[in-house]
């Protein structure tokens, strides 16, 4: 009896380890996460509109239907990226996600403080390689460091009324994400 309880206790303790391991490993093995859903729809380093969600079809769950959305799936392996989007009348935001869908940075039109949100996206190594003086002359340049080489830039423009969705979507077509010439 005692032997049985000991085996049971061992099993329960091991179960805890299994639980923690699966929770920690699951994000790396997911095949239906946001990045994997967007990857087939989006060429690398190009802004692509994401269709508005409908009851029948949505690229991702829990999308906000009041927003026009576009995505740039980036790869910084070869060069840093230059990103820009004009701001809309209502509200425009740019959010950055790592390859594993972690939001590491987001900026909205008011924080950008101009008619255009403009920034450079690079890895920490590429940031360190920037010549010092260039950083001073480009003091007004916003630099965002991506913790991973690949990830997502999600651009959203609010359509305050359903009738404004088309113009919000139109605005996002002017968004650009391009590798910087070296």
């Amino acid at each position: 009896m005692i032997r049985f309880l000991l085996w049971l206790l061992g099993g329960v303790l091991l179960g805890g380890v299994v639980h923690l391991a699966t929770v920690l490993l699951l994000p790396g093995m997911a095949t239906q996460d946001a990045y994997s859903r967007l990857a087939p729809l989006t060429p690398v380093n190009k802004v692509v509109p994401v269709p508005a969600p409908s009851p029948d079809k949505a690229t991702m769950p829990f999308m906000d239907p009041a927003f026009a959305m576009a995505v740039c799936r980036y790869d910084l392996t070869n060069a840093p990226l230059k990103f820009s989007v004009p701001i809309s009348q209502a509200y425009t935001s740019v959010s950055f996600y790592t390859r594993s869908d972690i939001a590491y940075y987001a900026i909205n039109d008011r924080a950008a403080g101009r008619r255009v949100i403009e920034l450079d996206l690079m890895t920490p190594d590429q940031h360190n390689d920037l010549p010092d003086n260039e950083e001073i002359t480009a003091a007004d340049r916003l630099i965002v460091e991506s913790p991973t080489n690949t990830g997502l830039i999600v651009i959203k423009a609010l359509a305050a009324e359903p009738g404004l969705l088309a113009s919000a979507q139109n605005l996002l077509t002017s968004a650009k994400c391009q590798p910087q010439p070296q």
Binding site: R3, F4, W7, L8, G10, G11, V12, L13, L14, G15, G16, V17, V18, H19, A21, V23, L24, L26, P27, A30, Q32, D33, A34, R37, P53, S54, P55, D56, A58, M60, P61, F62, M63, D64, P65, A66, F67, A90, Y91, S93, S95, F96, Y97, S100, D101, A103, Y104, Y105, A106, I107, N108, R110, A111, P147, L152, V154, K156, L158, A160, E161
Partner: protein
């Protein structure tokens, strides 16, 4: 022989408990660091690199992209109160004010995060569309049948989830109590 049986038994127990616990936590949406105000709960850390492992696993499993913390915050409501989950066949009134934010949107989803089909193709409201009272408060009637004023159709689904997203808002990681964050209240009216 006894050693082999014991080992097998322990491994089976471990698999059952471990995988069962993982499945249960992800299904029930158990995550740490949530702030609950009335019927609403938000996980401000989900929009930051400090997202906890359980929330990360849930996000990876569902395929959603959490709203980044520099962008806004999402509050979810799944029930009117502890005893009554949100039922699309009932009339529910959402009334009051929202915390300070430049814009907010309210959206109705099914529990899987899909929009719910309805005859008028309305899935939510933005702060600009809402009809307000003279005092600045508002009331949204959520139910299966058409209503005058702000009507959010449920399509008669059994269960639904409300998401209130605040954009460009001071509400976030530092928000603790409900005093500075007046969330609208949910009350169930008629239920056939």
């Amino acid at each position: 022989m006894r050693l082999l049986l014991g080992t097998l038994f322990a491994f089976a127990t471990a698999a059952l408990i471990g995988l069962g616990a993982t499945w249960f936590t992800l299904k029930e949406g158990i995550a740490y660091g949530g702030i609950s105000i009335g019927a609403w709960t938000a996980w401000p850390k989900n929009g930051t690199p400090g997202i906890d492992p359980y929330a990360r696993a849930m996000v990876a499993r569902s395929g959603e992209l959490p709203v980044g913390s520099g962008d806004g915050i999402t509050f979810y409501a799944r029930a009117v109160d502890a005893a009554r989950p949100l039922d699309g066949r009932c009339d529910v009134a959402l009334s009051g004010t929202t915390p300070q934010a430049r814009f907010w949107t309210l959206t109705l989803y099914d529990p899987e995060g899909k929009l719910v089909a309805n005859s008028v193709q309305r899935h939510g409201f933005t702060s600009q569309e809402i009809i307000r009272n003279a005092s600045g408060t508002f009331e949204i009637m959520i139910g299966p049948r058409a209503r005058p004023g702000n009507w959010l159709p449920t399509g008669g689904v059994e269960r639904y989830v409300l998401a209130l997203r605040l954009y460009d808002t001071p509400v976030g990681l530092a928000t603790r109590s409900g005093r500075d964050t007046p969330m609208p209240s949910l009350s169930q009216k008629a239920c056939p």
